[in-house]
Subunit: 194 residues, 4 copies
């Protein structure tokens, strides 16, 4: 597991490929967010684990952090039931759940069910929580539930980094006995596999 | 508030004054923990806010972190009902609640109800959550409930620090609108004022 | 309030008006359920209070009771955003949330947003929880959240009734100080007013 | 299981044997409560399952019901660590947790650790939840956690009974698949076996 983390810490986060945005007038790119820690929350509006845990957690983080230091972004990665999870439906969902963070719509793929950004990140399903550091590298990539505590530790660690140093991988801080491993590919019972 | 934080970031954490320990064979001093981030959780065994929130949170952090990086310590700061919150009662409590982290017994003060360490830290009551950085300085001091998320951010920030730099205060990361302010002296409804 | 309850205990529950059903091959009518206690849960698939509280509670009750004694029925009462809360979307929702209880689709009204059954019951919004006794009379009609405890007491009371006696209104059992009044028209913060 | 329930429905609840009471000026006997449904909550002040679940649930029921219809009583059944779970400690506990319902102290047994009432009811440990009907018969006897919903159903059922009829056992209402069986002797992970 240590190896995969070390490798991950050198992977540049693929750019977002979107066909539209909610809660922002501009198209957001990862490049434009360089210098900030980025929380990317990939979800589907009809995924129970997203609605009950991932999205409320994302909204809370959006409320609590200085947007100049932590950029919080939702990504609607529809990989099933495309006919009913439309942009129009997503807008109603975002309105009813009072979501305020920017939400990108992952670009559909003509050839297959999984959209482009989801494919580029090799996400297993929804919800998926991703952290990108100030230099644009992937640092956390987890399918399913991430605890508030571990997400806090991870964001705190990335915030404290200067551009030069990235020696510390997040998980090296945690006990080997920790039941939740933020960098691992674990599957939550609430999560939707793709 | 920024001022008080800046001041706080320069305060050296007072040494613990204890009359005994549970879950460890040795007396623990802050001096011996230099180089680690220290979470100090001050509680009373019959304080509802401690039992329902602070102590489970402390146990969880103890389980999840590498003890060589984060030292988790409980402190039984009895300032009321001394006759029933004895060492013997505390031992039963720690046994029944399956607490594993070291717990110091704050040294009683002959002259007054509040014990010595609690007085030195000017704690308002229990639970009180304290974070001490690798150089032995006080960095978070909060009476009442601290959310998992904010405690995680705070620990992550302190872990990422090298000895030379302490420029970033934890709260400077957070939005001014954040409802919970980890460095402020806020009072939780569950907390016991001294 | 006592008066309104006495009145309510004599109101015959209006018959359901539906255009289709999920999780059952037959159209369900209240008439066919005479002799059972009926829990009718009116919801919309994009209503946060329904998704987070009302629907999980309804599913739990469906799992726990003998269906020959307590009939649990959902009713999709779409009164807003009709274009995206279609039957097709509802089917995806029911599938993803693993709902097993029968769900009727309230008959749309050509003249107005509120569908027919919702109008006949004068519901204020969603979620609305309704209990109908063995003789087909309305006994509980509440907009917003109903606690597990009070819903349990209410169902237990109705189950114990024989056909002849209905003297006891559910709320007469509760303390006047009880914060939640199951027969009252109270508005939960999570609820959607129509 | 049906047999044991039928048997149970004919068992007269043993009288309480106590050495003192909190939150009431009088000694309470079951005989004096005839005509009311009685909720008896047996606990120990240092039992985690009691403190975290059973006692808050008992306090809530005490707040919500008309005391002329439902009598809510705590019973401190100390069967371990007698030296620290004294009357004085219990008084501090009840004060700090703001308990308002009457609490009897189970009469210690000179010969063994288990006190007299606990022995008479053959309780397995704490918490134990007991329901006694209007005629003084045992109707529910469960070790460990009881859900709000099932406790509500049970109380509602007993409230609706007249003195003559006791034909319906509580569990006959529930689905055979119900995961929690209120009349069964099940063991909660939080519970303390005696």
């Amino acid at each position: 597991m240590t190896e995969s983390k070390d490798t991950m810490s050198k992977i540049r986060a693929p750019e977002l490929q979107t066909t539209g945005w909610l809660n922002t007038t501009e198209t957001i790119t990862l490049t434009s967010l360089r210098g900030k820690v980025v929380l990317l929350h990939a979800f589907q509006m009809l995924c129970p684990g997203c609605v009950q845990q991932g999205i409320p957690q994302t909204q809370k983080i959006f409320n609590e952090f200085d947007p100049d230091r932590v950029a919080v972004i939702g990504l609607h990665t529809v990989f099933e039931h495309h006919a009913v999870m439309t942009r129009e439906a997503l807008e109603v969902f975002a309105y009813e759940y009072r979501l305020r963070f920017p939400i990108g719509i992952d670009k559909p793929n003509e050839q297959m069910a999984i959209p482009h950004t989801m494919m580029a990140y090799q996400m297993q399903g929804t919800p998926t929580t991703i952290l990108i550091d100030k230099t644009g590298h992937l640092r956390l990539h987890q399918f399913g539930h991430v605890s508030d505590f571990l997400l806090g530790v991870s964001i705190g660690t990335l915030l404290a980094e200067t551009d030069e140093e990235q020696a510390t991988t997040i998980s090296s801080i945690l006990s080997p006995d920790a039941t939740e491993t933020p960098l691992a590919d674990a599957c939550d019972t609430e999560g939707c596999h793709s």
